[in-house]
Symmetry: C2
Subunit: 477 residues, 2 copies
Amino acid sequence: MKQEKLTTRSENYSEWYNQVILRAELADYAPVRGCMVVRPYGWALWENIQSQLDARFKATGHVNAAFPLLIPMSFLEKEKQHVEGFAPELAVVTHGGGQELEEPLVVRPTSETIIGHMYAKWIKSYRDLPVLINQWGNVVRWEMRTRLFLRTLEFFWQEGHTAHATYEEAEEETMRMINIYADFAHNEAAVPVIPGRKSESEKFAGALRSYTIEAMMGDKKALQSGTSHNLAQNFSTAFDIKFSDENNELQYAWTTSWGVSTRFIGAIIMTHGDDQGLVFPPRIAPIQIVIIPIFRSDDEKALVMPIVEQLQKDLTQFRIKVDDRTEVTPGFKFNDWEMRGVPLRLEIGPKDVEKQHMMAARRDIPGREGKTTMSFENNTEQISALLDDIQSALLAKAIAFRDDNIHDPADYNEMKSVVESGWAYSFWCGDAACEEKIKEDTKATIRCIPFDQSKEHGQCIVCGKDAEEKAYISRAY
Amino acid sequence: MKQEKLTTRSENYSEWYNQVILRAELADYAPVRGCMVVRPYGWALWENIQSQLDARFKATGHVNAAFPLLIPMSFLEKEKQHVEGFAPELAVVTHGGGQELEEPLVVRPTSETIIGHMYAKWIKSYRDLPVLINQWGNVVRWEMRTRLFLRTLEFFWQEGHTAHATYEEAEEETMRMINIYADFAHNEAAVPVIPGRKSESEKFAGALRSYTIEAMMGDKKALQSGTSHNLAQNFSTAFDIKFSDENNELQYAWTTSWGVSTRFIGAIIMTHGDDQGLVFPPRIAPIQIVIIPIFRSDDEKALVMPIVEQLQKDLTQFRIKVDDRTEVTPGFKFNDWEMRGVPLRLEIGPKDVEKQHMMAARRDIPGREGKTTMSFENNTEQISALLDDIQSALLAKAIAFRDDNIHDPADYNEMKSVVESGWAYSFWCGDAACEEKIKEDTKATIRCIPFDQSKEHGQCIVCGKDAEEKAYISRAY
């Protein structure tokens, strides 16, 4: 078996990205343009993401349900901004059971409309509120330029849809969920996202306000990695979601929606990956530990394998893989599992057995520096500690990289050069004209107005007028 | 709040079925004909089914992945029987992104074709085999007559797709999976299915052989509750799934597919439900225990609620719900949770607190007989034992009902009357003409030829010729 070298990130970042995904077997191209197959290794990563997010949703009172894939075309037309936003991206079913349909059905691009329709049926009284439902599923958006995980015709996600009695509760929910996303990203995926508000031009079609978590990729572009929308009464008015309040008066409900998709896998790849391939944070890695038995004869095998088998039994609390392939060399296996991003490798050869230890190699620290010997005793504690350390190190490294590449340009000219390779963090007056000018001049966009900022005033980086808030500006996926 | 009485099963079984689903909020009708919304209570049941099945799949070496929703029409046409079987049921996407597509795409009715296409790309050598992949997802079949859970345009399921080096391995896998389904059905859902082989006319479109688990519903009709197909080399030939064997010769792979869907929820409802509503086996019940605090004054509340809160803390190992609604009476709550099928109800009022016990009411035994007092001490053990007992009792009851309604008719005339309300277990010569005659005369079909049968010969119940095998014959959903 030959092991081709990956294109390096500096040679061609986008080629590196595609190569690691295909070679590590995270995903593959489907026969329909722009669609992907998520392969078992990629899906195991998604399952880990799902279980971490799902636990957070359930702990905050949310429940899961399943709404239909097919939505009558007329539903989308009920909310004006919504249909304008999604009409160009729709996949349309015109025939069913051999007959042309009376009304075409769209394959859901998102489910606000169909869920709004059901909520109108279910919600009668303030006692029915809040409704806190999430759905794990697939959606289709007819994108023109696609990239594995980042932008595909069909993608997988969760979409939460909630209804509340008051504006305040809906706003609180919208904030709660973006904070849950940020917490998940930091603590599980070691992706140091910045949460903030989207500008008016970047908000969700039909939302009053959209919040986002923005992550910096290895090429210093931004990736929107999750969003939470306060829909105010826009959808409840369009779909007639009304409840009688405590005074028996009819009110429109206040709704929200929020989602994280398989795009987040792209964020993980491009936050942590290096020229050897993927690097997965232990808490979400599909495989946390790979064990490589090393032997050249049957005698050596008889020495090594019982130890490996015992280890496998001892380490069941971890997601573990023993690579016992005989058709490739240990060296091949080292490279292979490095490329696949497994956080920790344990090597055991006959000499290690003699010395009653094994070699532990960290994925995040290349070469000798990342290697330590580890005794066979108390290994679960040692390994737990090591995995925790890898997790923290990855987060610290990503934070340092992000902060090193956020700049505070003195003027518009400096900003223009800064966003060619990094983010600008600058005052913005809030004017759409200034936002548009940035886009035209630099291809960078306003990624978010972060929640966490001081209350000083300053001058808009574009027009120089008084500005109350700073925004992150960068090129983005 | 009013509490309408359910239609009884004997009055109108099908009306009873729809009512329990809608009132218990398991599912609702979607705005598109034949589609359903699975509501949170129903989805929680499905999640429990998923986690039990998924654990069994993973324990037998299977991994999950996700294949695309949209399949080129031409793919379906590659396997002749397959396209004949599915062509009448397809939903077709003809437009995407505002343009008419060059080739129409079908919304997957099942994924053998697209997965076959990918396997052809991935499988090169015998070392790549077996491939053991499962997918949890949604599919669409344009059914004319639909029923909630039993037959809907869109439904949710898992579909396993495996590829093997030999016929024997594929056959072993096909059997392994039908046995896993049977084990799950018996031990988790308390649904005493009968596993067996489908007749040639009832097998999956494109399969060499199909295995099934058949369950008897409360109206004595059969429900096919899961299937496993040996696809031989039919799909590998159509999709060119070839591998080089140990002698470096190219061979077509042997493939299988197997699935259980949200239809299984129908099986659970109609196996255990009674005139009070749903009855869920504890091991898969969305809520295992409901606690009803009973008080009429603030003083009584102050006595009762601390005990209830303590219980809630003690019983976290169970799926538990405290019904603290104030707008309805305890009596209303009893009926409500009985209707929703919660296996165990705990009632705690001021007198119970005085006596340091609570009332435990089993859902499976109505009235006083199902009630016992339970001390506050060691309650997790007591409750575990009680839930286990309920689980076993439900299975025993379902087995007794099934066996009481399986008949051994002496001749064809008796068979005809037997299948009006029950199953016949009779010799069948294997001839399609006899099978067809049964269908025409009685609307009953051959449900399966069970694996577990003695090797005697007998006379075909239709034509009287020598027959080697017995089959279950009944009307079915």
